[in-house]
Assembly symmetry: C2
């Protein structure tokens, strides 16, 4: 029969404790921006000039001195002399004199002397004369220099993930290459004599899912994964795989063998690798209480519960937070308030994670908790995100607003 | 000066029209599930057995016949004969007789004859006797067969994107390989003599951002991208690049040259490739009105506005919808209701997209529209998602609930 947990810690204590005990290599490399999608910047990226760098027209129309349009209307068209057309990407060096105009397309550079643009809809052209039928004010339809982004504004902070939109922002300033953080390596294996990788199951056996799921989560976050599959549930096999994984990776995840009859192997195996060994031995979390954190040579070893739901939630909420913080990466979560569709009972003194479905109805964001046993897989398949119930809550009531993290 | 648009279409008409005129190859391949992250399934995946496949214990405790626990309490402990321990992954073939018990860890298979499990917290062990101090009812702490997922339940629909959570679900059923849809190829280039890829800018010049951003968006969606960079703004160069891209790709994106002085080149170049040529020539959209859809040999050519914000929004809201629909892929958007922080004026008769910031405050989801000129890049850099203003709306009011798509 298993021993009881040695210690049970709060997740908010676990994170700083582990951070102080581990090292992760923070290495940088310079890559072409074309290959930078989903990487993390190793540097703040700043605007190298005011954007836009010149005054631009906001419309297709005619650049004018606004004073010359005073009183213009459909009943009182005012004639202007058309000097020509400004082309996108070129700059017109002639200066406007009174009652002169240039055609400027949207985005075109405003000619000197002009202070406004009249939309083409309010004009009529006869030969080289343009009749303006609308009065415009100073700066109307003109985009000032630096109105969008000022020189030296930070457009990407160190540690931000590079999205297509961030690429748009960097390319606006001509960025061709960028320093990014090299991904760390994570070794992952599952333990358990009941685990099968494929083929028919005997009674009581299950398929290994955690080594695949944790690998996919870690890849999604941009890390390099070595998945070692299933390891036999005995001290020697676990120690041998731990040694291999630690030598080849920066972090090791193992799953299974943390709460059951084989619990001792995991703890003993980690402890056999040297001090400090197992430093966290159970958390005030549901699901995910039987999670083990160990350290060998300042490298992190996480022993996840064999339960897929628990290991997924502990990775998402605790382990990746530790790794991101240690590397200085920014974790951007999509968090909203949503209204609970029903009561959630909870036990005071443990943090709880419940997967929920988001329902958009009658202008409301409603979250329906997917109550489940911890061995269920359906919340992972069909859920939309995670409700967190704080440590000291005694439960949440129907209609209450809760914090919901969309995944 | 540019010609006016030939026709201006509503986005809801554009999508079915284009779908009827184009072909995309829907090819499948079988891959290892380990490499399936972010691919799209080519088949429904169904549960091959009831899950869980056997009755399981929900707790660490002692399997009993519930009738034998009647009246048990701390003041009235009832003795049971301890027959042994069920190990995870094994199945105990002995059957419980009255007042016998087995220890079962969480997740362990319930022994025949037992109909409930007493948590170890309510027991005391003395040699081979277990004293039960709590009455349990029939099925208490027992997870029935198939309680999570029933055999033949669809766990992944065709066209769904494969997330780490879907991998967990498939691995529960031992899925080792999966048929996925082969990614299509998209060729992308920018046109415009004002565009530079790098180096210092002359007055009026800008850096090419669209070919990079559209490439990143398309890659994020799982397509294979050939980015051809900047093409000279003349008929011959555009035709030559279009021919090359069409021969090498399933879809071609070009950006720029749709609204400005060079508009005609785009339209003429597409039309020169054969019938039907340009089929959509402007949309009732803001930003993104000057978007061109052309067809050559039933292959789609999209002429995006040179404006990064417009081309991004048109890709997100129109073009990817077309491609996903044609391939039968499911587009999962994270959509919520949010309260507007201020009025948004709009012109009736055009659909508008406005980028916004989501602010979680006092239990409310508030969206602050980032009013911007269409040439702005800051909404892409700093926004959180997209507010859509319907075609016939005359604007939205402060405090109104709007649909907000988080990106």
């Amino acid at each position: 029969m298993p021993k009881k947990f040695l210690t049970v810690s709060k997740s908010k204590d676990v994170i700083p404790k582990i951070l102080s005990l581990i090292d992760l290599p923070i290495e940088e490399e310079e890559i072409d921006i074309e290959n930078a999608l989903n990487r993390y910047t190793a540097e703040d990226v700043v605007a190298t000039f005011d954007s836009p760098p010149f005054r631009k027209s906001l419309v297709d129309g005619f650049a004018v001195r606004s004073v010359d349009t005073k009183g213009a209307s459909p009943g009182n068209p005012i004639p202007f002399k058309l000097l020509g057309e400004v082309h996108i990407g070129t700059f017109e060096h002639r200066r406007l004199n009174p009652s002169e105009t240039f055609f400027i397309p949207t985005g075109g550079a405003i000619v000197d002397g002009a202070d406004a643009v009249v939309m083409r809809e309010y004009t009529e052209i006869h030969n080289d004369e343009v009749f303006i039928m609308k009065e415009v004010s100073n700066e109307e339809n003109v985009l000032p220099i630096g109105e969008d982004i000022k020189k030296n504004d930070v457009i990407l902070e160190r540690g931000e993930r590079i999205t297509p939109r961030k690429i748009a922002g960097m390319r606006n300033f001509g960025v061709k290459s960028i320093r990014v953080i090299k991904p760390i390596r994570i070794g992952i294996f599952s333990t358990g004599d009941e685990l099968r990788d494929e083929g028919p199951l005997k009674q009581g056996e299950i398929y290994d899912s955690n080594s695949y799921t944790l690998a996919a989560e870690a890849k999604q976050d941009g890390f390099i994964v070595s998945r070692y599959g299933i390891v036999k549930d005995n001290f020697e096999s676990i120690v041998s795989m731990l040694k291999k994984s630690i030598s080849q990776n920066n972090v090791t995840f193992m799953s299974g063998g943390t709460s059951k009859g084989n619990f001792d192997f995991t703890v003993d195996a980690i402890n056999s690798l040297g001090k400090p060994g197992v430093v966290i031995h159970g958390m005030h979390l549901s699901p995910g209480k039987p999670t083990v954190f160990g350290i060998a040579s300042r490298k992190l070893i996480v022993g996840f519960s064999g339960n897929p739901l628990a290991s997924f939630l502990v990775y998402r909420n605790i382990v990746r937070t530790i790794i991101f913080k240690k590397l200085g990466l920014k974790l951007k979560k999509k968090v909203i308030f949503a209204e609970l569709s029903e009561n959630i009972p909870s036990r005071k003194g443990r943090e709880e994670y419940i997967i929920g479905n988001l329902i958009n109805k009658d202008g409301k964001n409603i979250v329906r908790p997917m109550f489940s046993e911890s061995a269920f897989i359906s919340p992972l398949l069909y859920g939309d995100g995670i409700i967190t119930i704080p440590l000291m809550s005694e439960g949440l009531e129907k209609g209450e607003r809760v914090v919901f993290e969309l995944w």
